[in-house]
């Protein structure tokens, strides 16, 4: 008897989510090949309501055995996922935990707070506890909020001042413009943090174009391969990176498949930490074939 795993993830609307889609589709192929009795369906949704609709649609057939979901937002997806669980579906949640953790049979967690915090701690250390930084944030969602919160927590107790925080929509072009404007506004900036690597690329371009020399660090987060390359090359401005691997979806799909096939019954949560990627360990986080 065949079993079905549905994978519901955000649509590929920027680098990181594109990475998620890439890994999910890869995992789907591999799992289908490895477990002949298991079918994997991957569906992307551009918004939270669309994601709710999609999981309803996937469950409507009544023969859904497991759902792997990377929710757009925790709060909004909690009730709909609960409804699906009530039909006896195995629930794996990735990255953003649901408001009611008891719904999750399996939880593969990223740590967004750590992404911000690790970066902040690095800066406190390197800047000697004082300096002025500007921050680019994404779009108003939980992930963005958590990273900023982690960053602010990480700076606590130091004399590092956040000069400015603005939204740049996790978009390179917006980040480029915003960074140009930061540069025009602040004569002295010690470091820049963009809470996503897509934005960091725009930031670096803007810094490169200005002939400013005061900026010591421009950091991002997520583990995009272009940035890892910089770390590996020992780039002075971007010497570190924090991983937030989109491949976590792959892990989750594998674990769920293992569960379904009855090979390895796993419950509970798996937390991926966000260690500092430096020149030394960068190779471990480098996947040249991934689009991210």
């Amino acid at each position: 008897e065949r079993k079905t795993i549905a994978v519901s993830i955000p649509a590929a609307d920027h680098g990181w989510t594109a990475g998620v889609v890439y890994h999910a589709e890869k995992a789907a192929e591999e799992v289908k090949a490895a477990f002949p009795g298991i079918d994997v369906v991957v569906k992307t949704s551009p918004t939270a309501p669309a994601q709710v609709s999609a999981i309803e649609d996937l469950a409507a057939g009544g023969n859904l055995d497991a759902l792997v979901i990377l929710p757009h937002s925790s709060e909004e997806l909690t009730t709909p996922v609960q409804a699906i669980k009530e039909d006896g579906t195995f629930i794996t949640v990735v990255d953003r935990g649901l408001t009611d953790p008891t719904i999750q049979d399996l939880y593969v967690a990223g740590d967004n707070i750590a992404v911000g915090q690790t970066t902040a701690e690095f800066l406190v250390d390197k800047l000697g506890g004082k300096g002025e930084v500007v921050v680019l944030r994404g779009i108003p969602t939980v992930i963005d909020d958590e990273r900023i919160k982690g960053f602010e927590d990480g700076l606590k107790g130091s004399d590092i001042k956040i000069l400015d925080i603005q939204y740049a929509n996790w978009n390179r072009d917006d980040a480029f413009s915003l960074m140009q404007d930061y540069l025009a506004k602040y004569p002295k900036i010690d470091a820049v943090w963009a809470n996503d690597d897509d934005m960091l690329l725009g930031v670096l371009e803007a810094i490169g174009q200005s002939s400013r020399t005061d900026i010591k660090y421009a950091l991002g987060g997520n583990g995009m391969k272009e940035i890892i390359e910089k770390v590996m090359a020992g780039d002075a401005m971007t010497p570190i990176e924090t991983p937030y691997p989109p491949s976590m979806i792959k892990t989750a799909i594998y674990m769920t498949a293992a569960n379904l096939s009855g090979q390895v019954p796993i419950r509970g949560s798996v937390k991926l930490d966000a260690p500092l990627i430096t020149k030394d360990n960068a190779q471990e986080y480098y996947f040249p074939d991934s689009p991210f």
Partner: protein
């Protein structure tokens, strides 16, 4: 000479369901057939109910948009407005919940409708008093409402109080005689909309203003008042949609309602109402909203489209649906 040569005669409006509205229903029917061929589950009663229920928000807002567009306006702010008024409602309900318990819910509903009406009034007043293109005004207020909900939620979410959840749930998940509540609400809104548009002076004038502003003005119709009222109706519809929406996801967030404006306008146009104004097809609009939701559903149920290309297929289907609608005339 026969009567046939004496110009084109508009079919009588005995029924509030207009015959010209048939086009979108044909497109809908065509879509259902295609859907069934792709995946027989498409026509499962469960799936159908889900999809139609989901289309309710866009349908309700689109009924309001039919008024705005018929009167020659356009409202890009509806999505942000929905997020904003939903946020206002939740904050209000949460504030009252400790004291009033579940009776905070009906009060909150009144508040959200009033908030919607006020937002609509703002759109209408700026458009008519400032004599600025509605496109620009509502693009501006779109930013304003979006910023307000972001501010209210500190960039995060505004969840509804746990104590209210269960009492409020049935507004989205409940049903009456097997028909989900949101479907009933949207039918009621469409019925009321059709009544107002086809059966009252205001509706008649709304269409007249959209058809020819100058003539309407000569005829003593207050163009500014009618246009503004159309925006107010739009706001009220947004409020009603927010009432149905909140129990579904239990929160309002800065991303609630993103891009709804495009869906709403598309539903109206697929429903047979032209963007230049002077016509309004309420029931067609409802069909349009359902079509859009079915297209999205079909994308989930079908298997042969790469996830990257979903938007392309969706875009193509919308164009084809419009063609079917057009050709069926």
């Amino acid at each position: 000479m026969t009567d046939a040569t004496m110009g084109q005669v508009r079919p009588e409006r005995r029924l509030s369901v207009n015959w010209v509205d048939l086009g979108p229903f044909l497109a809908l029917a065509a879509l259902m057939v295609v859907g069934f061929l792709i995946n027989p589950d498409f026509l499962a009663i469960n799936n159908l109910t889900n999809v139609v229920t989901r289309s309710a928000f866009v349908a309700i807002i689109a009924v309001g948009a039919t008024f705005v567009i018929a009167s020659g306006g356009l409202d890009l702010s509806v999505g942000s407005m929905a997020a904003f008024v939903a946020g206002v409602m939740i904050l209000f309900m949460n504030a009252l919940a400790p004291e009033l318990g579940t009776s905070a819910i009906p009060l909150g509903m009144l508040v959200v409708v009033a908030a919607g009406a006020l937002c609509g009034l703002a759109n209408g007043a700026i458009t008519t008093i400032g004599r600025i293109e509605p496109f620009i005004v509502t693009l501006g207020t779109m930013g304003i409402f979006r910023a307000l909900i972001t501010y209210m939620s500190d960039g995060g979410t505004i969840p509804i109080d746990r104590s209210l959840r269960d009492a409020y749930r049935p507004i989205y998940f409940g049903d009456v005689l097997g028909i989900p509540v949101p479907i009933l609400v949207s039918l009621a809104v469409a019925g009321a909309g059709a009544f107002i548009l086809y059966r009252t002076k205001f509706g008649r004038r709304c269409i007249a203003v959209g058809a020819n502003e100058e003539v309407a003005r000569y005829s003593g119709v207050s163009v500014a008042r009618i246009r503004t009222l159309a925006f107010v109706i739009q706001g009220i519809c947004v409020g009603l949609a927010a009432i149905c929406y909140v129990p579904r996801l239990g929160t309002a967030t800065p991303t609630t309602g993103v891009l709804w404006e495009l869906q709403v306008i598309t539903a109206v146009v697929i429903g047979g109402t032209a963007l230049r104004g002077g016509r309004g097809h309420i029931w067609g609009t409802i069909a349009g909203a359902v079509i859009l939701e079915f297209i999205a559903n079909l994308m989930v149920l079908s298997d042969f489209v790469s996830e990257y290309l979903v938007a392309a297929v969706q875009g193509a289907i919308i164009i084809v649906a419009m063609l079917v609608q057009r050709l069926s005339k």
